[in-house]
């Protein structure tokens, strides 16, 4: 159940230009499914910052975020021992198929973190996983060690090398696999056009409360107006309208 947690920072480090990895200490595994997110109270800021979940261990919640503004800049300066008031888990996660399948995880930039947690969970459930991540340039690569350690099939696309992750998918002939995606809207839109009919996308939005009350992040879908924070952030491909 969604709740407010006070989680001490265990460690924080810059893992790529503008990208930070943050480990929070939890009592037992944080009760979130892949694709759900948390909303962090940043000292001095009014609204919380929604951050996707990279991984969950027995006693850690691992987050990855990009410094995009003043709030995340403050967060990146916080030290081990400082406590983050964490609201979560929020939203609905990805839904993995019940039967073993070959699944495609497609991530772009700071949209890649939740797919790490999802890929691990998919492997645990016996699925075959191929991961396609796109970054601006090789220097921006995230999670190579993690993917190697997982032993999954993974491939990177780089804007700087003239290939995006959708083109990579097509080049590898993986466009009929069910996909699970998170990344910038143009990537998701292109992926939904080019990829399998069976897909789930995790969206980003400026949020007010993060738990559904303010309707600040509602989008129009084939199922009517839906809140990214509450009915989302993961939506199945067929309900998305790509209007916003």
């Amino acid at each position: 159940m969604t709740s407010l947690f006070s989680l001490p920072i265990l460690s924080q480090q810059r893992i790529a230009p503008g990208i930070y990895s943050l480990e929070l200490s939890t009592e037992g595994p944080f009760p979130a499914r892949p694709g759900q997110f948390v909303d962090l109270k940043i000292p001095g800021k009014m609204l919380r910052r929604p951050i996707s979940i990279t991984d969950i261990t027995e006693d850690r919640l691992i987050l990855t975020y990009r410094v995009a503004g003043e709030g995340t800049a403050i967060l990146s300066g916080m030290k081990p021992g400082e406590v983050l008031e964490t609201l979560g888990p929020l939203g609905q996660g990805f839904v993995l198929p019940e039967e073993s399948s070959h699944l495609l995880m497609v991530g772009g930039g700071i949209g890649t973190p939740p797919l790490i947690y999802l890929a691990k969970e998919a492997l645990r459930q016996g699925h075959q996983v191929t991961v396609l991540f796109g970054f601006r340039s090789p220097a921006d690569t995230l999670f190579q060690e993690e993917l190697k350690a997982m032993g999954v099939d993974y491939h990177f696309a780089y804007d700087s090398e003239g290939e995006n992750v959708v083109q990579l998918m097509q080049r590898l002939g993986l466009d009929d696999l069910p996909f699970f995606a998170c990344g910038p809207m143009p990537m998701l839109k292109a992926l939904c056009k080019a990829g399998s009919s069976d897909g789930q996308c995790s969206l980003e939005a400026r949020m007010g409360c993060g738990f559904g009350a303010c309707m600040g992040c509602s989008i129009k879908t084939r199922n009517g107006m839906q809140r990214v924070c509450k009915e989302g952030p993961v939506f199945s491909k067929e309900v998305l309208l790509w209007e916003t």
Partner: protein, 304 residues
């Protein structure tokens, strides 16, 4: 132990803290955190006669004193609210709510009132003539006393429940507006809806919000709203519900002291979903500190 109940137009509520329209949905979203029956009432999301999708994203911007929103009255329409949402609401909430209604014509308001007034969960109508985020409606009625009075009279004619009018700080002469509304039969006033505001993107210089401007809410506007309540209170006899930047039990007491009979709370509950129960826990201790047994005795304390 202090007595927190207050009476609004003959209907008693067990404490003066009323989650504000647009910041509490239909109550469901707070169930993970606390039993919403702790509040004596709340105001439902602004309802229009036709369903509305609201404005495109982004609808939310932040600032040091709170937030700006341009949600724009997203709601499923009055019929769906009555037939689908209020029956669900009754399962989780046993009190009576404020039915916040808005529109783009006098007829809109009238029809909306006709649909929601009979509902057993509706204790009061809250006439929203102050939404800054829709064009050609909402606030347009709240800045012109003649329009405001016309809307009010039309709604009063079809309502059995007390009608409260939620005013906008954008009204050029708020005292005159409030007096005109009282004279036209308003049962109470809600002071105030959000202040019109703007944020621009640092990089592009363009408005952050899809609707260019948005309604400013949060602690940043608290002393502005407080002054307005203090200004209006001696000029009207009908109850005032304060609304604007309340975040703590002390804020509730300050706003009641300025003249509020009860207090709506919005942004604080979005920033921290536990704000409302925290305030409710603190209020009795405050009353004890102040040596006051009935919280309603605090209303207008500044003038006593």
């Amino acid at each position: 132990m202090g007595n927190l109940n207050v009476v609004l137009s003959g209907q008693e509520i067990k404490n003066p803290l009323i989650p504000a329209s647009g910041a509490f949905g239909y109550g469901m979203d707070f169930l993970d955190f606390w039993d919403v029956n702790e509040v004596g009432s709340f105001s439902i999301k602004g309802t229009t006669i036709l369903p509305r999708e609201g404005n495109p994203l982004p609808r939310i911007a932040e600032y040091e004193g709170g937030m700006l929103n341009c949600v724009g009255l997203q709601n499923p329409g009055a019929e769906a609210v009555r037939n689908e949402i209020l029956p669900e609401l009754r399962k989780i909430y046993h009190g009576k709510v404020f039915a916040n209604i808005s529109g783009f014509s006098i007829e809109d308001y009238e029809k909306c009132a006709e649909i929601l007034d009979p509902d057993p969960s509706v204790g009061w109508l809250e006439l929203n003539i102050s939404c800054p985020n829709v064009h050609g409606g909402g606030m347009a009625f709240g800045t012109d006393p003649d329009n405001a009075v016309a809307v009010l009279k039309a709604v009063k004619a079809v309502s059995t429940k007390p009608v409260y009018v939620k005013c906008t700080p954008q009204a050029p002469d708020l005292t005159y507006m409030c007096q005109a509304l009282e004279q036209a039969g308003a049962d109470g006033l809600v002071l105030l809806n959000t202040y019109l505001g703007l944020r621009l993107d640092y990089r592009t210089g363009k408005p952050i919000l899809s609707n260019t401007t948005g309604g400013v809410s949060g602690p940043g506007i608290f002393p502005l709203v407080l002054q307005k309540i203090y200004q209006i209170y001696p000029k009207v006899q009908i109850p005032i519900i304060g609304c604007g930047g309340v975040s703590t039990a002390r804020d509730v007491i300050e706003m009641m002291s300025a003249g509020a009979a009860a207090v709506e709370i919005g942004t604080a509950g979005l920033i921290d979903p536990m704000s409302v129960p925290k305030i409710l826990q603190d209020l009795p201790r405050c009353l004890e500190e102040l040596g006051v047994s009935n919280i309603s005795d605090l209303t207008g304390r500044a003038f006593k």
